[in-house]
């Protein structure tokens, strides 16, 4: 147990939560290690929010046990609030508040605080302190939210959809800041809809569906589980039937565009063989062929679809 709390920042063991007749979370067991970026992904209504809120102590599990920094999440809720920081989606801050006021207000909540000036500098907010929150662009708003999440120099940071609605530049900056937080030794728990984000950012990812943990591993291993390269993209030759392509051996999904067609296959070699045979027979050519690595997107649809099939 002692070693456990040294290596794990958060530990869930057989956690359950019901709302009426619905099992929001079923027998959830996993550990978040100290100093890692831990992703939680899953469709809407999968139980991500309930899980996070139980870890934050806002909701009490109906069964099982949650330890955060070695303390019971419910019983030591108030003490733990001093030790974690939270980034919620940007709508939760009054628009008329000024950035400097927000930093001063939030630092008054905590026993231990980061140096607000230094924090503002490190997020490049020092010129925005007199700006009202609503006057800022999406990327700057997220920086302010991040500053508020870090104002108590937290050991754990919870990030809820940190790059939702950000343009690609702002998103990359956000990712850099999150990686820097890990460099400072913090544990980061991030929920996201963007599989690209989970893949680029997270050390390990938990895939949750229908209140249950369906997979937990590094993004690389999750992807490897699907069997490596498996997306076959080529120029749309214009005179080919979608149904016939979809019916090729081992094709599990097709993406259809006027410019490009992509087939997803669980047996790349065989699908390619029959694709070329079909092109030959129908007298067209497979051109601009590209074979793609599977991504977290594939992992996600594969795992959550699998669950659906099992449930039926």
């Amino acid at each position: 147990m002692e070693a456990n709390t040294l290596t794990n920042a958060i530990s869930l063991s057989q956690v359950r939560k019901r709302y009426g007749a619905v099992d929001a979370v079923r027998e959830m067991t996993f550990d978040v290690r100290r100093g890692e970026i831990f992703g939680i992904v899953g469709p809407n209504g999968a139980g991500k929010t309930t899980t996070i809120e139980m870890i934050e102590g806002l909701r009490t599990p109906d069964g099982g046990r949650i330890e955060v920094l070695g303390l019971d999440a419910t019983r030591h809720r108030e003490a733990l609030k001093h030790r974690y920081g939270v980034l919620l989606q940007s709508t939760s801050i009054p628009g008329r508040a000024k950035v400097g006021e927000l930093l001063r207000l939030f630092s008054s909540f905590y026993r231990r605080t980061a140096d607000a000036g230094q924090l503002a500098r490190s997020l490049h907010l020092e010129d925005k302190l007199q700006s009202s929150y609503k006057s800022l662009s999406g990327g700057w708003k997220q920086r302010v939210s991040l500053a508020l999440a870090l104002i108590n120099d937290p050991e754990i940071v919870f990030l809820d959809e940190p790059s939702m609605g950000l343009d690609p530049n702002a998103r990359n900056e956000m990712w850099e800041m999150i990686l820097r937080m890990r460099g400072e030794g913090r544990t980061i728990v991030v929920t996201t809809h963007y599989m690209e984000e989970a893949q680029a950012l997270c050390d390990r990812v938990a895939v949750i569906d229908k209140g249950a943990l369906v997979a937990l591993d590094t993004p690389r291993k999750l992807i490897a589980r699907l069997g490596g390269a498996r997306r076959i993209a080529f120029r749309n030759p214009g005179k080919v039937s979608r149904d016939r392509l979809s019916a090729l051996p081992h094709v599990i999904q097709t993406e259809w565009g006027d410019e490009e067609i992509a087939l997803h296959s669980d047996q790349l070699d065989l699908t390619l063989k029959y694709l070329f045979r079909m092109a030959d027979a129908e007298d067209w050519i497979v051109s601009e062929l590209r074979l793609g690595e599977a991504t977290m997107n594939d992992v996600f649809s594969e795992l959550t679809l699998q669950e659906r099939r099992l449930a039926q």
């Binding site: 806002l58 939270v86 939760s92 001063r104 008054s108 508020l148």
Partner: protein, 250 residues
């Protein structure tokens, strides 16, 4: 304590930045004062040797407690919650009493500013009779009455789903209390059954207390009124805490 004071200062600054909301606090009571004062102000009052205006001023002061409670505090709290900031506070060490107390302090400042404004205008326009003892006693009564009425405002905020619904609910409580408590016109012109109903409204006793102590009667003379306000304070506080919500229901 630092959290509470910072929060109060923050709430107040946000409130003042939205100028329109000051209407109910600073304009409405003065409009009432000028209209009814102009019509009845110099007529003889209920008590021998006083004018209508002498009873109307303390009544208006307690009316501002009511309007700040059900309009300002209630709508502010709903707006606050629906904007999501309370949800954000919930994952910090901020407690629910911090939030309620900071809004209550803001309400108290507004009530006192409103009362000062009423007294000054009444002095200038009608050369109102006032004594230091009367003012002090009125303040004591007002501050005590704030507990229950602010509690009512906060409790209503827990029931309203949107700022629009909050104003609707505020009207439902405000106007009956205004007319049945003897603020706008003396109770004895109402039919008997309405006078009976009026006795069950805490506002009626609040007005009676305010008018009595303003005219120099001892604070100790109002056992019934103090009891009603004390009971209302306990109820209001309990409901305020019980119905408090950090998040919108949707």
């Amino acid at each position: 304590m630092n959290t509470f004071l910072r929060l109060a200062a923050f709430d107040f600054r946000l409130y003042l930045r939205d100028g329109l909301t000051l209407f109910w606090v600073l304009i409405y009571p003065i409009v009432m004062l000028l209209i009814f004062g102009q019509i009845f102000g110099n007529q003889p009052g209920v008590i021998e040797g006083t004018r209508y205006i002498d009873s109307y001023v303390p009544a208006l002061c307690v009316m501002s407690v009511l309007s700040v409670s059900v309009f300002t505090l209630q709508i502010n709290m709903v707006t606050y919650r629906e904007s999501g900031i309370l949800r954000r506070f919930r994952v910090t060490p901020v407690k629910r009493w911090n939030v309620l107390a900071s809004h209550a302090l803001q309400g108290l400042c507004l009530v006192l500013a409103g009362a000062a404004e009423i007294l000054i205008v009444a002095k200038l326009v009608w050369n109102l009779d006032m004594s230091a003892a009367g003012i002090l006693q009125l303040l004591v009564a007002m501050v005590f009455g704030c507990i229950g009425f602010f509690g009512l405002g906060f409790a209503l905020s827990g029931l309203s789903a949107s700022p629009g619904a909050a104003s609707g609910l505020a009207m439902i409580f405000f106007f009956p209390m205004l007319f049945l408590s003897g603020i706008a016109m003396p109770l004895d012109i109402f039919p008997t059954f309405l006078q009976h109903i009026a006795q069950w409204i805490p506002m009626t006793h609040f007005v009676a207390l305010a008018q009595g102590v303003w005219h120099g009667e001892s604070l100790l003379h109002f056992g019934l009124e103090w009891s009603v306000l004390a009971g209302f304070a306990v109820l209001g506080l309990a409901l305020a805490f019980w119905l408090f919500r950090w998040e919108s229901r949707s």
